[in-house]
Amino acid sequence: MNMHKNLLMQALLATALAATSMQGLALDFKGVLKDAVEKEIGQKPEAAPNESSQTPAAADSASAANSSEPEFNWKNPSQAEEISLGRQIAGNLLGAAPLVKDAALKKYVNSVGRWVASQSERPDLPWRFGVIESEDINAFAAPGGYIMVTKGLYRKLSNEAQLAGILGHEIGHVVKKHQLKVLQKQQLLNIGAGFLSDKYAKDNKLVSKAIGTGAEISARSLDKSAEYEADRLGLSYATRAGYEPYGLTEVLQTIGQTNKNDGSVALLFKTHPHPDERLVALGDAIGNKLDNVKNGKTLENRFYQLKN
């Protein structure tokens, strides 16, 4: 990563210099910026290093010293920064729909979630899980390990293996930093595009500017490939945890039967590939890999039933 540290600014300056003698500045500028940002946050690991020989620009050193909000390192956020960002997003989502007031339910989802998360590549995050008051069918993950499932989705579940699969999918998003990377990309673009104006650049380093108003960020889509990846990881984590591997696919089967005109799945269907496509992709990825996995548990007996 260190090797690439100044790539973005190098690319910025190189483009700015080149673009002065060109028409259609904005278009080219954006394109190169986008490429540079993608390289910077590791979305294009296969891309060849940029061989620019320009000196790094000074825009990076601009600080938001006069702001009450601490500056956020968008290029390479620390785990603490990642968690603080996730906390802000989770808090906004909870502002739209609070937790279901049921202490036993809270403890139960955290128990299942914590055990599944322990099978992931980031077992040391402070994972937290909640069921929120909404009849929508959906689940959300925020950076740093904040995961929320709606009551409407919870209602569709009939055993613990299914819950493990759903939580596993969201854990997969956090492990792969899917949302974080989207925010990083957007903010680095904003900072880059605004580097001629110091004020604008400073503002864009702040968390509040990044996540927009309310819980808008939770309504955004990720790439389809990110959803398929989270499906594969979620199933893998739940399987490693000792659950019956097909919990997630059973839930996808159930959701797939919901009429797409039903308001409760409007946002889910808008932001995710159709459950049928997800089932096909998972089936192809599974192939014969589960043929020797036996004795996974469903644990419907201890599955926590909602009180209302």
């Binding site: 502002g95 729909a97 609070p98 402070p126 808008e216 490939s225 000792g242 599974i286 036996k294």
Partner: protein, 169 residues
């Protein structure tokens, strides 16, 4: 259309929908080979074509015994979408229209039920006390392990699934 007639129609459609579900139908999600036994190396006994309606006879482990128009055989669980066949979804669509929940393609949020529409999410205000409550339930890895032990969950070795070839989009 009188409201009485509409109600009758609704009930009739409701029964149609249930009949479809009760028969345990399904739809092929992909082209696949039907096996004579629920094993990958069992003899082939026919083919399944994507989109084809099937009857689901039995589930055994990760396999479904299904009946197509031509034959009966076993396929992997994820080769079939369970519950609603193509005709089943159409019924569901008509049902939704009859119950006033489907409009002109635009999704109308159901009144009286709290939703998480984009508008509602945008209007949300940070709720500090709820985040604190959420964080108050954070468990340690050890506590997770104890919970797993209580349910006799035994962790196994299993490599993360990778995207199937040609499916890395």
């Amino acid at each position: 259309m009188t409201s009485k007639f509409r109600a009758l129609l609704f009930i009739a459609l409701l029964f149609c929908g249930q009949a479809v579900i009760a028969a345990e139908t399904g739809t092929a999600l992909k082209n696949d080979t039907l096996r004579k036994e629920p094993y990958a190396d069992a003899k082939a006994g026919g083919i399944l074509t994507r989109g084809e309606s099937v009857d689901i006879l039995k589930k055994q482990g990760a396999w479904l015994q299904i009946k197509t128009k031509k034959t009966t055989g076993w396929v992997r669980l994820l080769s079939v979408k369970r519950g609603a066949s193509a005709s089943g979804s159409q019924t569901a669509g008509v049902l939704a229209a009859a119950s006033g929940r489907a409009g002109t393609g635009q999704v109308v949020s159901t009144t009286g039920i709290r939703g998480l529409s984009e508008e509602e999410l945008k209007a949300a205000k940070f709720n500090e006390s709820e985040v604190k409550t959420l964080e108050g339930y954070t468990l340690s890895a050890d506590e997770g392990r104890q919970f797993a032990n209580a349910g006799k969950l035994i962790p196994i070795t299993f490599a993360n699934l990778k995207a199937a070839k040609g499916d890395a989009k």
